[in-house]
Subunit: 342 residues, 2 copies
Amino acid sequence: MGKTRSAPTLTDVAREAGVSTATVSRCLNTPERVIESTRQRVLQAVESLGYTPNFAARVMAAKRSFTIGAIIPTMDNAIFARGLQAFQDELRERGYTLLVSSSAYDPEAEREQIRTLVARGADGLLLIGHARDPQIYEYLDRHQVPSLVAWSYVPEARRPSVGFSNACAMRALAESVLAAGHRRIAMISGLTEGNDRALSRVEGVRQALQAAGLGEGALTLIETPYEIDKGAEAFRQLMALEPRPTVVMCGNDVLAAGALREAKGMGIAVPEQVSVTGFDDIELAAIVSPALTTVHVPHREMGRKAARELVAMVEGTSAGQPECISTHVVTRQSLAAPPDPS
Amino acid sequence: MGKTRSAPTLTDVAREAGVSTATVSRCLNTPERVIESTRQRVLQAVESLGYTPNFAARVMAAKRSFTIGAIIPTMDNAIFARGLQAFQDELRERGYTLLVSSSAYDPEAEREQIRTLVARGADGLLLIGHARDPQIYEYLDRHQVPSLVAWSYVPEARRPSVGFSNACAMRALAESVLAAGHRRIAMISGLTEGNDRALSRVEGVRQALQAAGLGEGALTLIETPYEIDKGAEAFRQLMALEPRPTVVMCGNDVLAAGALREAKGMGIAVPEQVSVTGFDDIELAAIVSPALTTVHVPHREMGRKAARELVAMVEGTSAGQPECISTHVVTRQSLAAPPDPS
DNA sequence: ACACCATTTGTAAGCGCTTACATCATTAAT
DNA sequence: ATTAATGATGTAAGCGCTTACAAATGGTGT
């Protein structure tokens, strides 16, 4: 059974190896500053004791955690999964660990998560979107924690960001829709309050309509949370309208999946009777039938670039270069010409 | 512009409020032990300085972090999302924070994540499935970190767990498949190495076949990673077989979605020509067409129960009661009788 | 032989917090 | 009035680590 051992500390390792704690610490952090023979002995002691450094103590003493925090609106669907995975991979290559938490699209929760992450010693923070109380940035400044905004690129925003123009992306999609011949357009948007991405997407559609000389009347808008069921519900409402819109543009692929499901349930053929579009091009978009015409966002690229930039900011080698990622429309079966007016 | 302030500490708050650091600490942790008037003053100082306690220091001094770690195989798809969300919600209600990391189904990565989480002071750990090097449990014991296994319930396993019997669940589904008349059965399983859940699911199918008096020859098995594309690929392989299986049972809904996608691409009608089944009943299962016949796993319930149990273990009020969650088969359109042998 | 420098290692002062224990002020019981 | 008990607050010792600085060691050039 052996004696009940508790977790070994640096001091235990030092004693075992017959050196000072400073030397052990150096072996672990700056091995090149310790002579080979000593290092051997120390590492062996580490091994035989099964020593793992205490993170809290390390953070406290070094005032560095090699940890990056990210607060995303939701983990429920795949919208952020891919980008975040790439973000994490890139961080790991650079010796950083990622701490993720989700705010459920709630600003108050986000503020709290930010404080938590900072309290935990995050060296830098990844935030989604620009819309947020300025006090938060002050708080981050005071604690000297650099932050980077992703998933959104707005030139006039002061904060560093790596993202794409939600407005331009959606505008391009809306132009495709118009080119297909649609004139009665409906949109199921995510909630725009406190969500600059959702708002910009609506804005993008508006711009396209305006450029095409269509008035406000051409667009019917519903706002609803980004959930499948909500998308379905909104679609049902839209289909009850008279005259019925010929296309339903959705704020993201999740809403579009819901719309598609409801269409099937209602016996409405897509795209023959109504066209549907999405946004994000997550895996789901290619699986549903009909497959979704949507906007492809290079999430991986965005994640990797964000990681590189944020690490550079943390290490003081960059002040935060904004970067705009380009998106493109992916044409699949869910968008077609409107039905003949009969 | 004001002077450049750096983050305030407990000492700053104490000075501002005219009390000792001990009193400030008590105000924050055990407010009932501080008299009203003093508490007022302290909280006001906290507020006006914008003080946030330093987490690392707190963990170090208190040897408690109120943090629970969870290592899940992947964040890429929704398999674990719902259960984990419930787990997190329940933890939060009890004053704990969740730290999540993913191992990408790699045992070595998992081991490393466990060490990291322990080093970060996690008070308890949620692990998925039982299959893992016993040394890991020794390590956890030594560090006195309780752990709970979820997503799998195996009576003979020694470790506390909250999960379901993957074998029974899959067996029940296989029985439905047999009842529908299928005799040439194929299965696309996830990789079974180091994954007791995947292995048990295969086992469940085997049991059902055996009980029905069918030999080994009735089952064709392919193992592949849990990814949509892999599911599609495996499905294609299976369809090339002669004679062709009449049903493809998939290790989870993600693989099934891939199979369905490929079937559509190959012009094979589901369920008329081939039936397909899934496992998990994630949102995706109801969205694809045809909708998937699958095994419903009450992820939320499992997550909540796991959280309650693990917190009890951490707080020493439970030794880890194993709990078995029950699952049931959900019948949708993807499973039907086999085609007439013509 | 010496001074000088580079390299390796040790010493010890914190990092910001919690908490056992000591102190002091009240109040209740005798 | 005296004592004991109770409650509020302060004092100070760490928690396990990093790192500035000091000390010791060995190699070079003269």
